[in-house]
């Protein structure tokens, strides 16, 4: 086992990783930028080194600085956390080149699964459902192609991305017109008029499955997480298990995740994301080859430590959990992401000094945060202040506990999204569990 590990991240996730390292008896090294001298992860680690100026691209994203920090401190492995360099194949390759273990999958796996079309190919090979669509660009017979998929469909620009060049067609009468529009739009925007068709999923749920696979080929999957509460593709609240998934469907989701890990020859911890329609059909969306922000909900209902499993896998050891143990769970968990944002001003970021910091506690509460009274939030990084994770013996009890905990949470000095979470837990739609990715937009509109 490793004696010393460097954590190439900041804030709450760096602290989260350091906590497990302490429990495993492994020494930890924190890295920090000039703007983060007062950040809590610097104090929690056994050692800390300054790696660069405030701008992330010159510090947390600067590969030579992070590698050099591991070398000068004698760390044998690097845990990347999430964000920053966690899904960068160049970084993971640089670790290997310098004789440092990267705690995560191989550079090849990151590249293969990080790329949408190659990840989709692996999913198809593993027998995992993908959104029906035309494999290649559509040039003729497009009504036939569209009917094969079934309306509604999406027309997507082959050269597009980030939501650009997408048109939704709900009935066949509109196809001709929309096709011409999409094609000429694509030509104007990307100087390439090629388009393809994909099934449009109305009001989908975002459901994802955490999996892990060790170097001996043992693979496990955990109960699904439901992350349908999003605003502009940013997750706000996650829960596990999903209120829309029964035990039979859960088994199929876990099966799909394990098949994907096996097909890709994946070694490490990862997450496969699915879109689920109203009829509970699920379709492969993408793979995240790192620990995710919402991993604590899984840890809470399964009583496991995912960082510990990551470290074991990276050290070439066997997973400490059997397949049956990983899928067994107890109760229900909800995570609230508390951000420094002013929702009355369209979620504008709020910066400043924390003048009051009174946190919830008591039974079933976990708070992952790097905040403290008197801390000044730097403007250079993300706006997440804390993750409040609550556990209850069932979903209704967890929601009641969320309401109680959010009521106890008091932050002074800057605006937070605590009130947004209160609105969510008070909404009848959320309470019945009948939500989809359009929920937040509807909720915010109804409040205006």
């Amino acid at each position: 086992m490793f004696k010393k590990i460097l954590v190439a991240n900041r804030g709450e996730i760096a602290i989260r990783v350091i906590r497990t390292l302490k429990e495993m008896g492994i020494r930890s090294v924190a890295v920090y930028s000039e703007a983060d001298r007062a950040c809590l992860h610097v104090r929690e680690a056994d050692e800390a080194v300054c790696i660069g100026p405030a701008m992330a691209r010159e510090s947390y994203l600067h590969i030579p600085a992070v590698i050099s920090a591991a070398k000068v401190t004698g760390a044998e492995a690097i845990h990347p956390g999430y964000g920053f360099l966690s899904e960068n194949p160049v970084f993971s390759a640089a670790c290997v080149e310098n004789g440092i273990v990267f705690i995560g999958p191989s550079p090849r796996a990151i590249e293969m699964l990080g790329h949408k079309s190659s990840a989709r190919k692996i999913a198809v090979k593993g027998g995992i459902p993908v959104t029906p669509g035309t494999r290649d660009c559509v040039t003729k017979d497009y009504l036939k192609e569209a009917e094969k998929i079934g309306f509604p469909i999406m027309i997507k620009a082959a050269a597009g991305g980030g939501g650009k060049g997408i048109r939704i067609v709900r009935e066949k009468e509109k196809l001709n017109h929309e096709f011409e529009m999409a094609s000429s739009e694509a030509k104007a925007a990307f100087s390439n008029g090629d388009v393809y068709f994909e099934k449009y999923i109305d009001c989908p749920r975002h459901v994802e499955v955490q999996f892990a696979r060790d170097s001996m080929g043992n693979a496990i999957a955990f109960p699904e997480r439901d992350c349908s509460i999003q605003r502009r593709h940013q997750k706000l609240l996650e829960e596990s298990p999903s209120p829309a998934v029964n035990q039979k469907l859960r088994g199929r989701l876990e099966e799909a995740a394990i098949s994907l890990a096996d097909t890709a020859g994946y070694v490490g911890v990862g997450t496969v994301e699915f879109l689920m329609d109203r009829e509970k059909n699920f379709y492969f969306m993408e793979v995240n080859t790192r620990l995710q922000v919402e991993h604590p909900v899984t840890e809470t209902i399964t009583r496991t430590d995912l960082v510990r499993e990551q470290v074991l896998i990276a050290a070439g050891e066997k997973l400490s959990l059997s397949r049956a143990r990983a899928s067994a769970f107890d109760g229900h968990a909800i995570e609230h992401r508390i951000n420094a944002e002013d929702f009355s001003r369209n979620f504008a970021p709020s910066v400043g000094r924390i003048e009051e910091w009174i946190v919830p506690g008591g039974p079933g509460i976990r708070l992952d945060t790097h905040m403290y009274h008197g801390y000044t939030l730097p403007i250079y990084y993300d706006s997440m202040l804390a993750k409040l994770i609550v556990w209850g013996p069932d979903r209704a009890a967890a929601i009641a506990r969320s309401r109680r905990a959010l009521g106890e949470f008091r932050v002074g000095g800057l605006s937070t999204t605590i009130d947004v979470h209160k609105m969510i837990v008070d909404s009848p739609e959320f309470q019945t569990g009948d939500v989809d990715t359009g929920f937040m937009e509807r909720l915010l509109k109804s409040r205006q």
Partner: protein
């Protein structure tokens, strides 16, 4: 307390490292807070200029294969290369920020240094 004394107290606080004081006089009470974070508190008056490491890494007085010549008391020109910091495969030069005399050398050849760590102190000319 009048406005004048408030101004005086604030001025005085800024010359210390106090961040907050509370003044009680019978029933009345006044609290003063100033921004005295270490970054904004730079009252030291000294002409000596530190030369900080441009990177985390290993410090070398000279490029590999070249002899080190730097000594305390030497005169250097602005922009002269005082050493290099090796971070993984990157070599970052350490230039003199001003014309002057090297007063203190606070680093040894082959020493691991952090970003921003003072390596030399120069008395400007």
């Amino acid at each position: 307390m009048d406005i004048k004394s408030l101004g005086k107290i604030t001025k005085w606080m800024e010359s210390t490292d106090l961040e907050e004081i509370t003044w009680r006089n019978g029933e009345s009470k006044i609290s003063l807070k100033v921004n005295n974070s270490p970054e904004s508190h730079n009252k030291f008056s000294s002409t000596i200029t530190p030369v900080c490491s441009p990177s985390i890494g290993v410090f070398r007085f000279a490029h590999p294969g070249k002899a080190a010549v730097l000594k305390e008391g030497m005169t250097v020109k602005k922009g002269a290369e005082l050493g290099v910091v090796a971070a993984a495969k990157e070599l970052k030069p350490v230039p003199a920020p001003v014309d002057g005399v090297i007063k203190i050398i606070s680093v040894e050849d082959g020493q691991a240094v952090e970003y921003g760590q003072p390596l030399f102190f120069i008395e400007p000319k």
